[in-house]
Amino acid sequence: MATVAAHNVSVGYQKQRILDQLSVDLPEGQISVLVGSNGCGKSTLLKTLARLMSPWSGQVLLDGTAIHELPTQTVARRLALLPQHPVAPEGITVRQLVSLGRHPHQSWFEQWREEDERCVEEALAHTGLSELSERGVDTLSGGQRQRAWIALTVAQNTPLLLLDEPTSFLDLTHQMEVLELLQTLNRDQGKTVVMVLHDLNLAARYADHIVAIKEGRVHAQGTPAEIFTAERIHEVFGLSCRIITDPYFNTPLCIPFGAGFPA
């Protein structure tokens, strides 16, 4: 079992409240995508779910237990997190980086059990990095580097994976590459994936469950087809658009309007 949920969570920075009594249950074994306009609190929600921020009130439940009451190492065995723009230590190789993902399963005495080795090799294989494993992380392309980071979280071998904008700063090919990888991890290993994405059309294609956030609350949630309607998009993003059906994959496709491209 691996579920994460927020119950009446309020949290913010200094005195500014970002999330306001927000409750959400992320479905187990599915890909959930948090969407919303900049500053709506979706990244804050992800950080709070990953116990990087402590709620002012309410709580985050990991498998039904309050996450802030669990030892952080126990949490790290169930929930892996990839923050936005992680920075690798200078000169570290892909294999060394991915091996760091084993930390929550290790102790001072046990630092390289057979299981550690197996998980690292599998993580490298799943992410297509076996060939590149001795390369320095700083010599990789943007897409390869992001795969290396995902490999680290895969080596962590957790049923839950939280990612904060894993595709930002990547070109479309590499965005697809990362999302395909996450979908494979979800389908093949049954991982529950929760991520923040900005591209609605990619979200519509890869998400099983969409959570639309507005002003620190869950505005709507459901399947992409339920959430991506012209009215909802306008409510959540303040954007006029038309939703058509992708003629190839039958997922919703958002056509935004603007001054130069009126409705």
Binding site: A50, L82, P83, V87, A88, H103, R113, D116, E117
Partner: protein, 341 residues
């Protein structure tokens, strides 16, 4: 891929052998330099004296080598090694290649305290208190920086900036005290501020070695966190590290290492900054091997510097600190240039 895996019931490790070969190489160079340093000086060591030394007969040369040169050499190696390890740890924790005890205010805290002691307390109390003053200054400055940088936890960038601020203020204190001191105090303070292992004895070596053990053991236990400290806070938290707590412990260790080294040898600058870079430039190590390599580079720098300071300008015996930068900086620049080609 040179890798050894060690697995016993209840214990497992992976050893990347390549960086450890580097460690061995630098250690051999250090031993060679040490042998050269022991054999040279005001009284050079010829073949006969060397034989006499090995046979263990009592002679003036024996006293010179074993009671003057050897403790000085070992103290230099310890001071350099501890400063280098402190610098490596600071650079890991701060995730900043420019971090070092010099820049983060630990050295300037020790300097301000030691110089103040030399100016006001050395005459009534005696010079024995200088190391204690230096140690107190280093720890005090580190604590002050941590407290000032605190805002629901400390972030590396706040620590660096606070460190630079505190360092500048304490530097002003040192200069102020020096300006109002008699010339004799200024001279001894100047030697202290440059860094010197002149007149080291086995008692000094024993004290510093004990400190080294006390401070390196907890680091050996915390090495995994020292490696993860180089990642984002968010990533480290995600991997189950209690970031603020581990950071505080590692910072305290780094500050104390620099503190004891400076208390024993004076305010050697540059070692803590440059030795970890030398270690990084010549190997792809992360973690323990990189730390050990930094220690060896730090030892090598100070031992070489003291060798030059002691022998090249005979009959003068200069403070080793002068030659640390004179030697280390060109070497480092040469490495950078070679890398760029």
């Amino acid at each position: 891929m040179a890798e050894r895996v060690l697995r016993r019931p209840g214990f497992s490790r992976r050893l990347d052998l390549a960086p450890w070969r580097r460690v061995l190489m630098v250690a051999l160079v250090l031993l060679a330099v040490a042998a050269g340093s022991l054999a040279t000086g005001k009284v050079p060591l010829g073949r006969e004296q060397l034989l006499a030394l090995l046979e263990g007969t009592h002679s003036p040369v024996r006293v010179i080598v074993l009671e003057l040169r050897l403790p000085r050499l070992v103290l230099g190696a310890l001071v350099g090694g501890l400063l280098a390890l402190s610098g490596w740890l600071f650079q890991q924790i701060m995730r900043n290649a420019l971090a070092s005890p010099d820049i983060l205010g630990v050295t300037s805290g020790a300097s301000a305290a030691a110089v103040s002691y030399l100016a006001w307390l050395a005459v009534p109390l005696g010079a024995w208190g200088v190391p204690f003053a230096a140690m107190a200054g280093a720890v005090g400055a580190a604590g002050l920086i941590y407290a000032l940088a605190w805002s629901r936890g400390v972030t590396p960038i706040r620590l660096v900036l606070t460190g630079i601020g505190v360092s500048a203020a304490l530097g002003a204190v040192t200069t102020f005290v020096l300006a109002f001191s008699p010339l004799t105090t200024t001279l001894s303070a100047y030697v202290w501020l440059t860094g010197s292992v002149y007149g080291a004895n086995w008692h000094d070596v024993g004290t510093l070695a004990l400190w080294a053990v006390v401070l390196i053991l907890p680091l050996a236990i915390k090495m995994r966190f020292a490696v993860l400290a180089a990642l984002d806070d968010a990533l480290a938290t995600g991997l189950g590290v209690r970031v603020q707590r581990q950071r505080a412990v590692l910072l305290a260790l780094a500050a104390a290492m620099a503190g004891v080294a400076i208390a024993a040898g004076g305010a050697f600058a540059f070692v803590g900054l440059i030795a970890p870079h030398l270690a990084r430039r010549v190997s792809s190590a992360v973690g323990a091997s990189q730390a050990v390599l930094s220690v060896l580079w730090g030892s090598l720098l100070v031992v070489c510097a003291d060798w030059i300071a002691r022998t090249v300008f005979l009959p003068l015996d200069l403070p080793a600190g002068i030659f640390v930068a004179a030697l280390g900086a060109p070497f480092f620049l040469w490495l950078l240039l070679r890398e760029a080609r």
